[in-house]
């Protein structure tokens, strides 16, 4: 079965380089390329994708839009942010929108292929700063009580929180596995859950916010 890949990147050299990487990781994959958010959105509504590599800073907008659209229209597709920004300021919104991991563009070929591989296997990367943002997102319950019931369903478990705490302190996932006496797969599952819950709770909050604005903005 062929893997359908969406590649959104505005720099031609980088795009072709990424394409070569994709073909390396997923031999025989069908790669659809786009240089603009507009084109990517059209592709999303026309074709089905398994994986999407999305750049964030594009001439006609942010790749976050594409991530969102994919999340809505093709929930089974995995969006991966490919960016030059390593800071959580840029990454976090994309992760909230439903991106499943991120890759820094300047990394050497081997590392990127390794990461792509892991992501496709369901092992997204998690940096300390992203972990801290996730924790802040879940711990700061400044939203009103009406939200709590809805958000309760996507609250982090103690184990997930424990993993996040350790990631924030700079431990690698294998290290945490050893510390908690858990297998590498279990840890990877926790991280996956954290990503999923971040997306669900973010959308729930957004919905509540919209509701609140609708209620009071009338």
């Amino acid at each position: 079965m062929t893997t359908h890949v969406l590649l959104l990147e505005d720099l031609p050299e980088i795009r072709s380089w990424l394409r070569s990487l994709v073909l390396l990781v997923f031999p025989g994959a069908q790669v659809s390329e786009a240089a603009r958010v507009h084109d990517a959105l059209e592709l999303v509504s026309a074709l089905r994708f398994d994986i999407a590599l999305v750049d964030l800073g594009l001439p006609d907008g942010s790749g976050v839009q594409v991530v969102e659209r994919l999340r809505e229209q093709q929930p089974e597709a995995q969006s991966v942010v490919v960016t030059i920004h390593d800071d959580d300021e840029h990454l976090f919104p994309a992760l909230q929108a439903g991106a499943f991991g991120y890759i820094l563009k300047e990394q050497p070929r081997e590392m990127i292929t390794e990461q792509l591989h892991r992501i496709s296997q369901g092992e997204p990367p998690l940096s300390p700063s992203i972990a801290r943002r996730v924790m802040a997102h879940f711990s700061v319950r400044r939203k009103p009580r009406i939200a709590s019931e809805m958000l309760q369903q996507v609250a982090l478990t103690d184990r997930e929180t424990e993993v996040l705490l350790r990631v924030a302190k700079g431990y690698t996932l294998p290290e945490i596995g050893v510390q908690l006496g858990l297998s590498r797969h279990t840890i990877a599952d926790y991280v996956k859950q954290i990503y999923r819950k971040l997306n669900v709770s973010s959308r729930a909050e957004a919905a509540l916010e919209a509701q609140r604005l609708g209620l009071f903005g009338r």
Binding site: L11, W17, G57, I84, A168, K169, G170
Partner: protein
């Protein structure tokens, strides 16, 4: 016990009546005179007391507010002046006279042959017709036998309206006033006339007084009609005191009060005029000025007005005073009625018109009717005033009640006095009480105005203070806003620079990284990209908690070592660290640590590396130790600069810290980085 000489029945012959002589009592009872002499100091003391009390009355009234004392003082003043002229044994009070009317145009001495009628003195407003009254009064008195040679006999006339001619035993003694009454007040001031000893006869002497005045029908006020008060004959020295007292009561006191009233009224009028919200003050001023003019008519000499015109003016002034009084009373109670104002103003015109139409001979009747109407209007206005104020203030205003009662009572007494119904002294005191009450009212107006002014000044000061506070607050907020704006603009600008760097420089470097065939160039470009990213972080990044920074460093450095197959060890305090690193410090420290790790990975050939971070004496101490081959010495004995040690040291120095490198070939390398945290603020909890 007074010595009174009764005039005798005239003899039908028409001669000057021969007066039977009644020996004065003091002659029969010398003890009486002695007693009178003994009483004199008492009388003196009484006079002093009266003056003091009057002074006290005015003083307290000026001092304001103490109404009760003021009323008492006025009553005391009236009581004090009541036992008027007589009371001394040497004085003869003549209360009966023979009166003969003559033609006003006639001249010369009293007609010797005319039969007169007996009249009691004071003779007020004798009935008469025509445009003028001329009457000869004849009284007979005895020269006191006890009169010393050097003592002068005198005649005191308290009141005579309008012109007077006095003859003693047929000889002209004095003339006063203008018979034709072309000008001047209606009544003469109290007269003290010396009776020349040469004209006196031993025993009975005849005094003829001719009074020329206006008939009652032609005057508006009874006060202005022809009149003669009781006469007192006695030693001049003894008459001086009653005369002075009468002059004070009838001339000086009204003058002083009228002047004070004029001033008060004028002042309050100006105040009321300037502050239209307090129009009642202007009306009070008009009232006071009108009343003082009304009073001034009685003593102001040389008013170039014919008798009838003066009367007309009098009534018109009265109408104006009524207008002012009613308006004052209503406006003081915050009631404004346009129709009342118009009606009262029309009345001021209607009054003189009605008098002119009715004719000069019905002047008194018309004026009396108007006066009653005025009185009714003022009483109505006063009642309305009290009712309105009671409704507004919830209780009856005591001061206003007392003031109105005082003025009303005084006016009633004064009117009664014109009919002779009350003793002359009380009538005089009542006359003085009205302007006094008005003055007190005026002072009260000023006091209230002053209080209002003070209150408004206080509230103005308060308002000013609040404005100042508000202004200061606004300025403060504005400054804060401006600072915030500067910060925002700066942050925006930094963000713009950062995103430019990322998008332009970053993209180009990235292209080099992935398109260069030379791995060395690709690595350099990658490093440049990392440097750029750090720089941007230093530019836009927020301060970082030390614990978070250690987490980041651990993840990066351990990951890097793991990739290179070097066994890494990390020791750092595990608890929450409150210290905060500014973005710049974080970035510089990251560079030092990255450089050190690079050296280990690239040059040391170490198999193990150990990081140790600790806090001591407010410093952050990081020790990086490897088991590699160490850094070879250069020829000059210094450590290899190619390892970037110089830049590491330089960066540490920039942060006021230091970076020491210990190395010996074959014994690995130890890098000791010490950074002061004292300038770094503790994180907010």
């Amino acid at each position: 016990m007074t010595a009174i000489v009764h005039a005798r029945q005239p003899e039908r012959s028409g001669r000057i009546p021969a007066m039977a002589r009644h020996p004065p009592p003091q002659r029969r009872r010398p003890a009486g005179r002695a007693a009178a002499g003994a009483r004199l100091p008492t009388g003196h003391a009484a006079k002093q007391g009266w003056r003091e009390r009057l002074g006290l009355a005015i003083g307290t009234s000026l001092w304001g507010g103490h109404l009760r004392r003021w009323v008492l003082a006025v009553l005391a003043c009236a009581a004090a002046s009541a036992p008027a002229s007589a009371g001394n044994a040497g004085l003869q009070r003549l209360t009966q006279a023979w009166a003969v009317a003559v033609a006003p145009a006639s001249d010369g001495p009293a007609p010797p042959g005319l039969v007169g009628e007996r009249r009691a003195l004071p003779d007020l407003a004798p009935p008469a017709r025509g445009e003028a009254v001329a009457t000869w009064y004849r009284v007979v008195f005895d020269v006191p036998a006890s009169l010393g040679d050097d003592a002068m006999l005198a005649l005191h006339i308290e009141r005579a309206c309008s012109a007077l001619e006095v003859r003693l035993n047929g000889h002209l003694v004095a003339r006063a006033g203008d018979r034709a009454r072309r000008a001047g007040p209606a009544c003469l001031p109290p007269q003290l006339l010396a009776l020349p000893p040469a004209l006196l006869q031993p025993g009975a002497n005849a005094l003829d007084l001719r009074i020329d005045g206006l008939p009652l029908a032609r005057v508006a006020s009874r006060r202005d009609a022809a009149a003669l008060s009781a006469l007192v004959v006695g030693p001049r020295s003894e008459l001086a005191l009653p005369h002075a007292r009468a002059t004070l009561a009838q001339l000086y006191a009204p003058q002083a009060l009228a002047a004070a009233l004029l001033l008060t009224g004028g002042f309050v009028f100006v105040l009321g005029w300037r502050h239209r919200a307090e129009s009642h003050m202007a009306w009070y001023g008009a009232l006071a000025v009108g009343w003082s003019l009304l009073e001034a008519q009685r003593w102001l000499p040389g008013l170039p007005l014919a008798a009838t015109s003066a009367q007309l003016l009098h009534v018109t002034l009265l109408a104006f005073v009524t207008l002012a009084a009613v308006q004052f009373l209503l406006r003081y109670a915050h009631r404004r009625d346009r129709w009342t104002t118009i009606a009262l103003a029309l009345q001021c015109v209607a009054v003189p018109a009605s008098i002119v139409l009715a004719g000069v001979d019905r002047l008194h009747a018309v004026a009396a009717a108007w006066t009653v109407a005025f009185a009714l209007q003022i009483v109505t206005a006063a009642t309305a005033h009290l009712v309105l104020r009671r409704r507004a203030e919830g209780r009856l205003p005591h001061t206003a009640v007392a003031m109105l009662a005082l003025a009303g009572g005084a006016l009633a007494l004064e009117l009664a006095g014109r009919w002779g119904a009350v003793p002359g002294g009380i009538a005089v005191a009542a006359q003085l009480a009205v302007p006094l009450a008005l003055i007190v009212t005026g002072l009260r107006q000023m006091q209230r105005h002053g209080q209002a002014l003070q209150a408004s000044e206080a509230s103005r000061v308060q308002l000013e203070r609040r404005i100042q506070d508000a202004t200061a607050q606004i300025e403060h907020n504005f400054r804060q806003l401006a600072e915030l704006r500067v910060e925002q603009v700066t942050a925006q600008e930094r963000k713009r620079i950062a995103s430019d760097l990322h998008d332009d420089l970053g993209a180009k470097l990235l292209t080099i990284v992935h398109t260069s065939d030379d791995p060395r160039i690709a690595t350099l470009a990658r490093e440049a990209l990392e440097e750029m990213r750090l720089s941007v972080r230093g530019l836009t990044g927020r301060a970082m908690r030390l614990g978070d920074a250690l987490g980041d460093w651990r993840a990066e450095l351990m990951g890097r070592l793991a990739q290179s197959g070097i066994e890494g060890e990390w020791h750092a305090p595990d608890d929450e660290l409150p210290q905060v690193l500014p973005a710049r410090t974080y970035v510089q420290t990251t560079r030092i640590l990255r450089e050190a790790t690079n050296n280990i990975v690239k040059h040391s050939r170490a198999s193990q590396c150990r990081f140790n971070a600790e806090l001591a004496d407010g410093d952050l101490r990081i020790v990086i130790q490897d088991n590699g081959r160490g850094i070879p010495l250069e020829v000059d004995g210094r450590l290899d600069h190619g390892h970037g040690l110089a830049s590491m040291k330089h960066r540490a120095k920039q942060m006021r810290g230091q970076c020491l490198v210990e190395s010996a070939p074959g014994h690995g390398t130890v890098i000791r980085l010490t950074l002061p945290l004292d300038g770094v603020a503790a994180a907010a909890p």
